[in-house]
Amino acid sequence: MENIEAELKRLIIDIFELENLTPGEIASDAPLFGEGLGLDSIDALELGVALKKKYNIHIDTYSSNLVEHFASVKNLAGFVVSQQEQ
């Protein structure tokens, strides 16, 4: 799980061009959207596309749990692992 979290932090920095930010500066349980890292709704779409591409997972955009899955790196890692196991 820690490996996936590290991969996700690097992925977030790369796709969102977060200059001057290192993976170590993104707390696994910090909010990704709003007051946390400050990502927005376009970023959420971009992150979904990147996750599908990198991990070949299915993301059900109608899922009521989607906001929770995308809330933090830790939640995202758990979501990716659960989808890979299916």
Binding site: F16, E17, L18, I42, L45, V49
Partner: protein
């Protein structure tokens, strides 16, 4: 100010050039420039947009950085006002990337798509500047870069000042057999006011049927005249010839 001399043949646009600001990727020694303007420095990373928070900077392409930098300079000195953005081809590298991806049956990046639309740069600048004024973005057309001046003249019927922002970049190689491409990356912003305001007077005269043999053949680039302080010229376009002059005491 817009003055039609005849229903089809001749019209004059008159402005006060209250301020201008330029950023261009190619720095060169410049001895004399148009009055009331400044040229922003060329830095290694492109135009300096350090006045923006990192989360706002991150989405800006090199051309968007240049456009936001010059527009910001004008708003800092003259405040908020309606704006006309203009680019002949816009974020060409983004829509080429999207089209190439679709041709390869790959997914489309949502953020790239949102930034590829022609009014994205104007919209981002409006958000950054917390502007509540209207803006419009024009693409290339029959009137070349005189088109945004027509739009500005219309806006000046209702407001005292209009911000005009122009941004261009070199087209990707795949497009170069088609329309003329800019020779470099640059952005230019002007604060235009009505003729009653103090400052250099910029006059543009459109002649619908003129075929002036002495007119410039290069209508795509205003910078050479501005950067050598040439005060008059003509540009022959497909449907008209535009004559311009700048008068300053």
């Amino acid at each position: 100010m817009l003055q039609a001399h005849d229903s089809s043949a001749r019209a004059t646009l008159s402005f006060t050039l209250e301020h201008w600001c330029l950023w261009q990727s190619k720095s060169a020694p410049i001895e004399a420039i148009w009055p009331n303007g400044r040229i922003l420095p060329v830095l290694a990373g492109g135009a300096d947009v350090s006045f923006l928070p990192m989360m706002q900077r991150r989405r800006l392409s090199p051309m968007a950085r240049a456009a936001c930098a010059v527009a910001w300079d004008c708003r800092e000195t003259h405040g908020d006002m309606p704006a006309v953005f203009f680019s002949r081809h816009g974020e060409s590298q983004y829509y080429l990337e999207i089209l190439s991806g679709l041709a390869a049956e790959a997914g489309v990046s949502p953020s790239r798509f949102s930034l590829s639309v022609h009014n994205a740069i104007g919209g981002l600048h409006g958000l950054h500047a917390q502007s509540f004024q209207p803006y419009v973005t024009l693409a290339g057309g029959d009137e070349g870069f005189f088109g945004p001046f027509l739009e500005a003249a219309g806006l000046l019927l209702d407001v005292p000042q209009v911000l005009l922002v122009w941004h261009e970049q070199v087209l990707p190689a795949i497009y170069r057999a088609g329309p003329p491409s800019s020779r470099g990356l640059w952005a230019l912003a002007m604060v235009l006011g009505g003729t009653a305001r103090p400052g250099p007077q910029l006059k543009l005269i459109r002649e619908a049927t003129a075929m002036d043999a002495d007119a410039d053949s290069d209508a795509a680039d205003p910078l050479p005249a501005m950067l050598c302080d040439r005060r008059s010229g003509s540009c022959r376009l497909e449907r008209a010839t535009w004559h311009w002059n700048l008068q300053h005491a």
